[in-house]
């Protein structure tokens, strides 16, 4: 293509290949190859803790998993968790963005400080919330006058308690995206609405919401995917059947019960779900980029 560089240095084609192919090879070796490896094991009764000969069992692992009501219970639990946590994040995050979307002194610093929780290490934050939730000396019970309430070892509220921590961490994420959407709305639209004496609700419903929707949707899809994959925070905060999300179930099956073959099969079921959501996410991301 470029006549000047021809003959000297590498050709553009060579540079392109040298720049791109190593990365793709690296990702294939360390992400795709392991997945093929586990796909193979998902059809066997392999147990990594034993030296027994590995037996091919066909689709038995998948069949058993899909018939196992406890596994279904894990999925239902995860769905509940996803809904609680994502709805909470959207309400708090979008609400905060609406509040912040006006001239406020030190707004930049304020917003950055509000972002801090989502940058933190989930395991450490989750651990520390245990102290906040402590029945006798936790600040949560003190602030809400619920003295002596056990949060993290009560089967009825433990999942909610974990979701609240997740909301605390990730509402800022929704806020960040919503703020970006809100600040991109041209003021002229609001001025026109003011001239027409439109009500606040009408303005919100017909100007604000539709224009923020694309970014809000991105935030919701992304958080849904992340909530579905939740491991760290729930694993650190509680260990009950009532808080055993799919990722935790998978971990226990693979690294505590050493049912390697079966866990590989479950991993594939989870993987398909995640890939489906990723597909939707990237589609919306590209649509947004094209604007």
């Amino acid at each position: 293509m470029s006549t000047h560089a021809a003959g000297r240095g590498m050709s553009d084609l060579a540079i392109r290949n040298w720049f791109i192919i190593p990365t793709i090879v690296f990702l294939i070796v360390f992400n795709i190859f392991p997945l093929l490896y586990s796909l193979g094991y998902s059809f066997t009764d392999y147990r990594a803790s034993m030296n027994d000969p590995v037996k091919f069992v066909g689709l038995q692992n998948y069949r058993e998993l899909l018939e196992d009501e406890y596994v279904w219970a894990n999925f239902v639990l995860t769905a509940k968790y996803v809904i609680m946590s994502v709805v909470g994040q959207v309400v708090v995050g979008f609400g905060a963005a609406l509040l912040l979307n006006r001239p406020i002194p030190y707004k930049g610093t304020l917003t950055t400080v509000l972002m801090l929780p989502m940058m933190m290490c989930m395991a450490v934050v989750g651990l520390f919330w245990q102290l906040l939730y402590s029945p006798s000396w936790g600040i949560v019970n003190y602030v809400f006058f619920t003295e002596g309430k056990v949060w993290l070892s009560d089967p009825d509220v433990a999942l909610l308690a974990i979701a609240i921590t997740d909301i605390w961490m990730w509402a800022p994420f929704v806020m960040l995206l919503s703020l970006a959407g809100l600040s991109a709305i041209p003021p002229s639209l609001y001025e026109a609405a003011a001239i027409d004496r439109a009500s606040r609700w009408f303005v919100f419903r017909h100007i604000t919401l539709p224009l923020v929707a694309p970014l809000l949707l991105i935030a919701i899809i992304f958080r849904t995917m992340e909530a579905f994959k939740t491991f760290d925070i729930a694993f650190v905060m509680a260990s009950m059947d009532e808080t055993e999300l799919v990722a935790i179930k998978l971990y226990k099956m693979a690294f505590q019960e050493w049912q390697t073959g079966r866990s590989c099969a479950l991993a594939y079921i989870v993987l398909l779900a995640v890939l489906a959501i990723t597909n939707v996410y990237v589609k919306y991301l590209n649509r947004l980029k094209a604007r």
Binding site: I20, M119, A123, V124, T278
Partner: protein
């Protein structure tokens, strides 16, 4: 009418600002609690009502850095009198330092984990950003058959749940002896951050006008020279931001570290919760460890403030 309107909206504004401040306080309580517990005396952590104001102490940090054991029986008064002030603090808590043969105080498990965290996060960040930058340049400047599909493939590796990848990786690492090694975690973190780095850097490089390089090519630079001397300096801010994001991700990562390491290469995130023993937990030490671990990230967040949006959307939204 207009005056009434504007007065109403002024009140509306004030109400909103008050709510923002309230939200701010609520959001900051957990962080304040970590920070303050790190300077409390052990007794202050288990009071009803919770202690908000107290006389700060440095004891939790002395305990954090040193290996200690519980003193059985009564502390020897002569030893106590001779001990330096920091050792007295530990003795007052009913502990004693664990010392080696030469009498030097041994460092705690936390110190080793913190060092591991730094080593692993720094090296994996360097690798991910270096590879990510050149790959992003490749995608940004050259045509590639199936480009969008490749980019989707790269991003999708980022979305894989860590546990799903960890199971086969553990088996493979076990076969080649990479379990509980620095190299093992560095490879995993590099792979995890690489896709992010490619996407984010592509966004930054797309913004650098092609004309700069083309002018350089006309001046007789080779493509390689143009990349190193023109594009890289232009992309410096983007590279720095990407590196900080990758560092934070590697620094905070928990699941892989939990499953792939147990001692030698263990990083701080799985170690800190493991201190939570049964029975009497010393929350001051956990808080001190957490605080030290979270501070770098807090500082980096301010450094990244203008790039946060870009970072969390993989470079798709640039503002």
């Amino acid at each position: 009418m207009a005056i009434v309107q504007s007065r109403l909206s002024r009140w509306w504004n004030r109400g909103a600002i008050a709510l923002v401040l309230a939200l701010m306080v609520i959001m900051m309580i957990p962080l304040y609690w970590i920070g303050s517990t790190a300077f409390k005396s052990r007794a202050d952590t288990t009071t009803v009502p919770p202690t908000v104001f107290f006389k700060p102490e440095i004891t939790p940090f002395i305990k954090l850095f040193t290996a200690r054991a519980q003193e059985r029986g009564v502390t020897d008064p002569a030893a106590y009198a001779k001990a330096p002030w920091w050792e007295k603090r530990v003795m007052e808590g009913g502990d004693r330092f664990i010392k080696d043969e030469k009498g030097n105080i041994e460092s705690s498990g936390y110190v080793a984990r913190f060092v591991n965290s730094i080593i692993i996060a720094v090296i994996s960040t360097f690798l991910a950003v270096a590879m990510g930058t050149i790959t992003a340049y490749g995608f940004s400047r050259f045509k590639m058959p199936g480009e969008d599909d490749w980019l989707f493939f790269i991003l999708s590796t980022r979305m894989l749940p860590p546990v799903v990848v960890a199971i086969p990786m553990f088996l493979m690492y076990r076969a080649v002896g990479l379990v509980d090694t620095h190299v093992g975690l560095i490879i995993l973190y590099t792979a995890f951050n690489l896709s992010f780095s490619v996407w984010l850097m592509k966004g930054f490089i797309d913004e650098i006008p092609k004309e700069y390089e083309e002018a350089a090519l006309v001046d007789g630079y080779t493509r390689m020279e143009a990349f190193f001397k023109i594009v890289l300096p232009q992309a410096a801010t983007g590279i720095a931001a990407t590196a900080v994001f990758c560092f934070i991700t590697a620094w905070n990562e928990y699941a892989f570290a939990l499953m792939m390491t147990n001692k030698n290469a263990q990083t701080a995130p799985p170690y800190i919760p493991s201190q939570l023993g049964s029975g009497l937990t010393d929350w001051t030490v956990i808080a001190a460890g957490s605080l030290l671990f979270l501070i770098p990230v807090a500082l980096f967040t301010f450094f990244l403030r203008d790039h946060l949006l870009r970072g969390v959307t993989f470079g798709a939204i640039r503002r």
